[in-house]
């Protein structure tokens, strides 16, 4: 939660040019973006939900085959 207070300590509320320069980094941004968007490329069989789905489909097909 945020609370305001009177700035009695004269804390700087605007960044210096040096701080701006230090934080500005497009390469880092691009890298983080790539990591974020390239996530989730796990093989299907390693995803537990998909594995279960494939297993159930397989089981149903097997039972149908056995039935016939």
């Amino acid at each position: 939660m945020r609370k305001f207070s009177v700035n009695t300590d004269k804390k700087k509320t605007t960044p210096t040019d040096e701080q701006i320069k230090r934080q500005k980094d497009f390469a880092r941004l691009h890298h983080e973006y790539e990591n974020l968007t390239k996530r989730g490329k796990k093989p299907l069989y390693k995803d537990p939900k998909l594995f279960m789905l494939l297993f159930i489909i397989g089981l149903v097909l097997f039972l149908m085959f056995m039935e016939s």
Binding site: K3, F4, V6, K11, P15, Q19, I20, Q23, Y33, L36
Partner: protein, 179 residues
């Protein structure tokens, strides 16, 4: 190259997003820095998050004649609010005396305020609903124009002005009844 042209190119190839980053980083970092009370690293992380979200959602961005920065401000506004919501403890944001003084005269509270008065007024602000406080913060502490506030909220300038003055009126009444 115009802003719309860069946006159109960045939609096709993310490499061009660097141009938008170069143009608007400073503005968004200054905004986050001030809203977060001068915490450089936190403001840096929030700003980074703003640009990652902008980059990821650029395909959804529609040019409605507003500056691209207003879309970034809107994302930054949400990111900062989310940061405060996640914080379990209170996060104190210092506000300069002259900003409180400006607010006090607009709310017709007083033209000059002692230190005690300022603290009391800030306490009163802290009791406001968070969306009201956001509006007051953008106008008086971030010193944004009504036009910029309107662009962030996607409302008209007149509406932004009306909402702000209604809150100020409420603050003024509360102040006077407490005195």
């Amino acid at each position: 190259m115009t802003e719309s042209e860069i946006v159109a190119m960045a939609k096709k190839d993310k490499v061009y997003f660097g141009e938008l980053y170069d143009r608007y980083f400073e503005q968004i970092f200054r905004f986050s820095f001030k809203r977060l009370g001068g915490m450089e690293d936190v403001a840096g992380d929030v700003t980074q998050q703003v640009f990652i979200k902008a980059m990821a959602n650029l395909s959804k961005y529609e040019d409605r004649g507003l500056p691209f920065s207003s879309w970034l401000y809107r994302i930054a506004q949400n990111e900062v609010s989310m940061f405060f919501r996640k914080k379990k403890k209170n996060y104190t944001v210092p506000v300069d005396e002259n900003r409180i003084q400006d607010l006090a005269s607009e709310a017709k509270v007083s033209t000059y305020m002692s230190m005690d008065d300022q603290s009391q007024l800030v306490e009163m602000l802290n009791e406001l609903e968070s969306d009201h406080l956001d509006l007051i913060e953008l106008r008086f502490f971030q010193e944004l124009s009504f036009k910029e506030i309107a662009e962030i909220y996607g409302i008209t300038e007149a509406n932004a002005k009306m909402r702000t003055y209604r809150i100020l009126e409420r603050i003024g009444k509360k102040w006077n009844s407490s005195k």
